[in-house]
């Protein structure tokens, strides 16, 4: 396949150039620069997509799940850039996309099992017996991760916007952002979506834990991947409890959402009951 020659570096470099152009845009805004940045963003996304299709890294591996998460966020970046042309959208989203692709390289490229079709490799897990449930478990946790990432981005933007308002500065036209109300709503929706997905994903994970323990794939409750996922769930539960039980809003919710992000990275970094690990 001609796409086999696409490497992680191809799209990582495209995202890096797009980000660099966005940063230059902050200093010296020019419409052509924004277009170029978007062009590189699209090129990166295209290469990213072709890489996922051609290579089909297992979703259940840290490498595959991180790259897939970055791919969804790349869509989020492109969608936002097209719909909010005047906003400094890329300045916030692209570092996360680029960061996640770099994070994936830390895990190393797993052996994909040549010969299978991309979707067979993509959904491959070690235990054949548990396959459908494991795939569902991984997919739900991955979608919840998207929610965590979007919540994180909304929170970062919220805190910057709130800081700007606190200082009573008018928005810099080079770095326009969404309103506080919109950012808060984005954060709320992301959390509302992520929490049920995370909960169901975790319940499936707990149900599968006994089988995992028997087959030696998981140590038990003290396993780091179980603890990190539980930690993430707990932070979410506290967030929602404060949000709806005590009507805590604004900066405090944004700050707490920021805490959830390192926990997500930890969860992504811990191995899963598969060939290479996963969320």
């Amino acid at each position: 396949m001609p796409f086999d020659r696409i490497t992680l570096f191809c799209f990582q470099a495209s995202y890096a150039v797009a980000l660099a152009l966005e940063l230059v845009q902050l200093l010296q805004p020019r419409p052509v620069q924004r277009l170029l940045s978007l062009g590189f963003g699209w090129a990166g996304f295209l290469a990213h997509t072709l890489y996922l299709v051609a290579q089909g890294p297992p979703l259940a591996s840290q490498y595959g799940s991180t790259l897939f998460l970055a791919w969804i966020l790349a869509i989020f970046y492109l969608y936002g850039s097209m719909h909010h042309k005047k906003l400094a959208w890329g300045v916030f989203v692209l570092p996360l996309v680029f960061g996640l692709t770099s994070f994936a390289t830390l895990f190393g490229k797993p052996d994909f099992g040549a010969g299978d079709s991309w979707w067979e490799r993509f959904f491959a897990v070690q235990s054949e017996k548990m396959q459908p449930w494991l795939v569902l478990h991984v997919a739900l946790l991955l979608l919840a991760s998207v929610g965590v990432c979007v919540g994180f981005l909304a929170s970062v933007m919220y805190l910057i916007q709130a800081q700007r308002l606190k200082a009573k500065n008018m928005p810099d036209p080079r770095m326009q952002m969404l309103s506080l109300e919109r950012l808060e709503a984005m954060n709320r929706r992301a959390l509302n979506l992520a929490f049920p997905l995370l909960t169901i994903g975790m319940l499936i994970g707990l149900a599968l834990m006994r089988q995992g323990m028997q087959s030696g794939l998981i140590e038990g409750w003290t396993d780091p991947r179980v603890l990190s996922a539980l930690g993430l769930w707990l932070v979410f539960a506290i967030l929602l409890y404060l949000r709806y039980g005590f009507h805590v809003r604004g900066k405090r919710v944004a700050l707490l959402t920021l805490v959830a992000f390192p926990l997500l990275l930890l969860t992504l970094a811990t191995a899963h009951m598969s060939t290479g690990g996963g969320p």
């Binding site: 606190k166 009573k168 709503a185």
Partner: protein
Amino acid sequence: MRVIVIGCSFRRTPVALRERLAFDAAKLTTALDELGARYGCEAVILSTCNRVELYLAQEATQPPLDAVMIAEFLSEIHRVPSQEVQPHLYERQQQEAVRHLFRVAASLDSLIVGEGQIAGQVKQAYETAQARSSAGPLLHALFQNARLVAKRVRRETGIARGHVSVSSVAVDYVRQVFDHFHDKTILVIGAGKMGELTLRHLRHLHPLRILVTNRSPEKANAVAQGCAGIPVPWDALDDALSQADIVLSTTGAPEPIMSRSRFNKLISRRAGGPIVILDIAVPRDFDPDIHDGDRTCLFNIDDLTRIREQTLRERQQHIAPAEAIVEQEAAKFLKNWTRRRNGPIIARLNSDLEAKRQAIVRQLFSRLNGQLGEADRKYIEGAFRLLQNQFLHGPISALTEETHADTPGGSHTLLEALRKLFRLQE
């Protein structure tokens, strides 16, 4: 053709005289018709609160219009003695006039540099002239270009960035906090004149409802009637505040009406999102310490004025690049106009000589038939073409030089001379 602008502006004409020289719709149409009839020129009149300018275009052969003639014309139209008018009039011709219009349209000559209203006023002036058929080919081209120049300046520089009225700045702040307004409640406290314009701007956001409270119920009712709001008793201020998303406070109270402790008590009753308070009263109505930039955003008159001044300062930095665009566009316009005016004559001259050359060469070749090789034929043809080009070079260069030298009537005389010398048909 010659383009002239004669007029007065806020720069050296007092408002009292500008008011007397301003054109209403009836006077404008009369003046446009009269200018054409009396002086046989194209005319566009730009009349705003800051300037009255007559843009005129006439044939180079006509006696040039000047400030004295236009002062008399204005004195007849407005019944103001011409001696009063004339010292205030300025006069710009050709490139200067083109540059002047482009600067005006791009808002570089405005009282508040970068304000957006003038571009619309220039467009309106041109459309009125179009409707009266007083704008001819030169003024059509000039005003259409002015619109494009204004757009380019706004697009490529930051001259129009930000808002410079306190009420617009207030709305900008509100937009940083809220995304939509159809579910928002605006509370107006007091009935100060200062708040009227801001309230008008806020109403354009189409809020869910407007509550109005005042110590005097009559005043509250009057303001509520004016803005389709709901009057609220002064005693219910705390309740109204707990329901409001945007507060516009403009009382004349000598002391702050809302202390931090009182505000904290009522804010705890709020279930909704953040609250934005625009305190444009002097002295201030709200304790400035309630501002946290998160749940409560308080902006007082000093904050709004500071932003306005900051925006004006920033605009100053964009004047030089904007002037460079105007300069470039003015030169481009004149070059294009010259080409457009001289083009038909040059083309006619060219085609006439081309036809003559071809006829002579054809005749020569038929006479020497059989005696010339292909190379000889090409050489002879090339020699005649060279002669034609050298012959044309002189008149075309002279015409271009004369146009750029801008001698009154110079290029027109040359054009006429070319027509007669070469017997070019119209």
